[in-house]
């Protein structure tokens, strides 16, 4: 179903819980946010891309597991406090049950090559989901030199040079926010 262009679609608490239960049960570490983006923004149109991206960044910057944080943000935005609880419970409970079952069976089957092979495939598909999200999000960035410079340097320094993320982010975020703040003020002055 295409998202309504005007007004926010009403999302039921059970619908919210059900979506995150399914997401929590089938998505794997490191790529969970990308699958959430696909379900909540691309397929269901519950929140728009800009709102999702700012929530995702807050989720990444603050302490806590990213999937849990982003679930909390989406739930809070759609249905307030109860929504936040429903989304987090949906994200954590199935995964909690699965991991305990796996822990129980792992010693019997963990050495099988087929298990490792399929897990590698699922990991690769997770990277694919992240690539899709990255491309979509990057295309919606404002087209200017400073924005591109910040995005590329964060990528190179963290992804290629492997500098630790926390100090890099501690410098990059205030710089980037200050640049945006003063750029906005200058445009406001001109108008």
């Amino acid at each position: 179903m295409p998202p309504e262009p005007v007004g926010r679609p009403a999302v039921g608490l059970l619908q919210l819980l059900g979506t995150f239960v399914r997401l929590g049960a089938v998505t794997f570490g490191g790529s969970v946010q990308s699958w959430v983006h696909r379900e909540v923004v691309e397929r269901r149109g519950w929140i728009d891309n800009k709102a999702f991206l700012s929530g995702l960044t807050v989720a990444q910057v603050l302490p806590g597991a990213n999937p849990v944080n982003i679930a909390l943000y989406v739930g809070l935005k759609l249905r307030g406090g109860l929504g936040a609880v429903a989304a987090v419970v949906g994200m954590v409970v199935p995964a909690f049950c699965v991991i305990l079952c796996l822990g129980y069976f792992y010693r019997g089957y963990g050495h099988l090559p087929v298990v490792h092979f399929v897990l590698a495939g699922l990991a690769a598909s997770g990277v694919g989901a992240t690539l899709t999200m990255g491309i979509k999000v990057a295309r919606r960035l404002p087209r200017n030199l400073v924005t591109a410079l910040i995005a590329v340097s964060v990528f190179v320094v963290v992804g290629v040079l492997r500098w630790p993320m926390i100090p890099v982010v501690a410098v990059a975020i205030p710089t980037s926010i200050a640049v945006a703040f003063f750029a906005n003020r200058r445009t406001a002055d001109v108008l």
């Binding site: 570490g29 960044t57 597991a65 935005k77 954590v92 792992y106 990991a123 992240t130 404002p142 964060v154």
Partner: protein, 183 residues
């Protein structure tokens, strides 16, 4: 005695929850240090086993604490450890998100939003490269990555079907490769 162990789990994991900036992956080394070296709840080999299970399981990898809790104090231990690792950080996230969603018109919020976007994009692509490198990704993995990205960008096929299709294809592929290796 059992309640002492539960308390121990809570006292170890709740501070880690607040310190887990940068997501679960960043916390794993500290969880290892606390549970293996400081408290001696499990050996290094046991920790490596539990870590492999956590990576194979869906959801956040921080859920390794559920397995550790289970090992230390049974099912109640698993529950206590899970609450301890998720509740404190969620309270911080809740407070920050509430402010965030209430101040949609503030100029500070607009600047924060614009400033965060390029940093987020840089981190998304950096995280991808790190995962691919850690997995020693070969041709098959890169082809899978490209195929999933293509399907997602051009269709609206549901997440569950894509994950199912990848798992099915890999099972089939494994069977074929196994058969060819024998023949």
């Amino acid at each position: 005695m059992s309640s002492n162990r539960l308390l121990g789990l809570i006292l170890v994991f709740s501070p880690l929850s607040i310190l887990s900036i940068g997501g679960g992956q960043a916390t794993i080394p500290e969880i290892q240090h606390q549970t293996v070296v400081v408290h001696g709840w499990l050996t290094n080999d046991e920790f490596a086993d539990l870590f492999a299970i956590a990576r194979a399981a869906p959801g956040p990898s921080t859920l390794i604490v559920a397995l550790i809790g289970w090992q230390v104090a049974g099912f109640l231990g698993a529950l206590a450890a899970t609450f301890a690792i998720f509740v404190p950080s969620s309270i911080v996230m809740y407070a920050a998100s509430s402010w965030w969603l209430r101040n949609e018109e503030s100029t500070l919020r607009k600047a924060i939003e614009q400033g965060l976007a390029p940093v987020a994009v840089g981190l998304i692509f950096a995280g991808m490269v790190i995962v691919l490198r850690a997995a020693h990704a070969g041709f098959l993995a890169l082809a899978t990555t490209a195929a999933v990205c293509f399907v997602q960008s051009t269709t609206k096929v549901s997440t569950y079907r894509i994950v199912g299709a990848v798992a099915g294809t890999y099972l089939l592929l494994f069977a074929v490769l196994h058969y060819l290796a024998r023949a």
